[in-house]
Amino acid sequence: MGDTTFAPDSPNTTQPIAGRNGTPLERRMLKRGVPGEVGIWAFILTDMSVFAIYYIVVALSRSRQPEVFLHGRHLMSLPTGLLNTFFMLTASLFVALAVQYIRQGRNGTSQVLLVGAGLCGTGFVITKYFEWGAKLAAGYTPLSDNFFQLYFMLTGIHLLHVLVALVVLAYMSRKVTHIRQVPAASQMRFIENGASYWHMVDLIWLGLFALLYLAS
């Protein structure tokens, strides 16, 4: 009860997903056991590892210039960071729910949820625009000191990920419009890939929020 079966990995299928009543071949394919495709997880783990290196660079830089980082952290707006974290988490909620509803064939509801996720993602981008604007207006640029160099660079790279994720969301929504009742295996794989990418973008933000807005 509550077991999730992921879309099979067969490359050329447009057949609807078969569950426990499927053929032996389909049952073997369902044992792949990851949402989407294995390749997206290789990408996700790689990207997470890159950001892990960024996190460690922040920590190393802070250990060498603790007063610079403390000063920079005091200039960060905690309410803005909390708002952006709310946007990221809620977008992930909507995407996760959309995946469940797509599996149930409730495509209309899933579209509403995907729009909701898009609005949250857009809210994040707009908040980041105003946050950066405020910093720049106050005279803090990527050249000010090591803290602000890392702040602008890392939140900028993350912002690029968010923009890509919004495009992915649009493609996911388009994919849902092509679903007739139950999604085909290839359609479900695409949607699971996109959802997994979105959750990775959320996950990466949590590390940046902790290191740049919270930790001393």
Binding site: M1, G2, D3, T4, T5, F6, Q15, P16, I17, A18, G19, N21, G22, T23, E26, R32, G33, V34, P35, W41, L45, M48, A52, Y55, I56, A59, R62, S63, H74, L78, L82, T85, F86, L89, T90, S92, L93, V95, A96, L97, Q100, R103, Q104, G105, V182, A195, S196, H199, M200, D202, L203, L206, G207, F209, A210, L211, Y213, L214, A215, S216
Partner: protein, 97 residues
């Protein structure tokens, strides 16, 4: 040979929403730790440790609930577990230096 298309059973909506509420609560908790007046008895290093642990707890919740790792293959869960331990451990060591 024909196959009967069967919709897979789904992770419950309640579980996903519950995970989101947990994430919000952990975020607010870490926000309290990160606020200026929250140093108190824990000290700066204690606060930083709490913030990092909460951050990685949130990462785990996202992977477990949103990324559906509780149903996923062992190699994926193990890879993520390795990432949590390595990255969190390294950061805590650097913050304690």
């Amino acid at each position: 040979m024909t196959t009967t298309p069967v919709r897979s059973t789904v992770t419950s909506v309640r579980f996903i929403v519950g995970a989101w509420l947990t994430l919000l609560a952990l975020t607010l908790l870490s926000g309290l730790f990160g606020a200026e007046h929250a140093v108190g008895a824990l000290g700066v290093k204690g606060i930083d440790t709490a913030i990092l642990l909460i951050a990685f707890a949130k990462v785990f919740v996202i992977a477990h609930a949103f990324m559906e790792h509780r149903h996923a293959a062992g190699w994926l869960r193990l890879s993520f577990a390795g990432w949590y331990v390595l990255v969190c451990g390294t950061l805590m060591a650097l913050y304690w230096m």
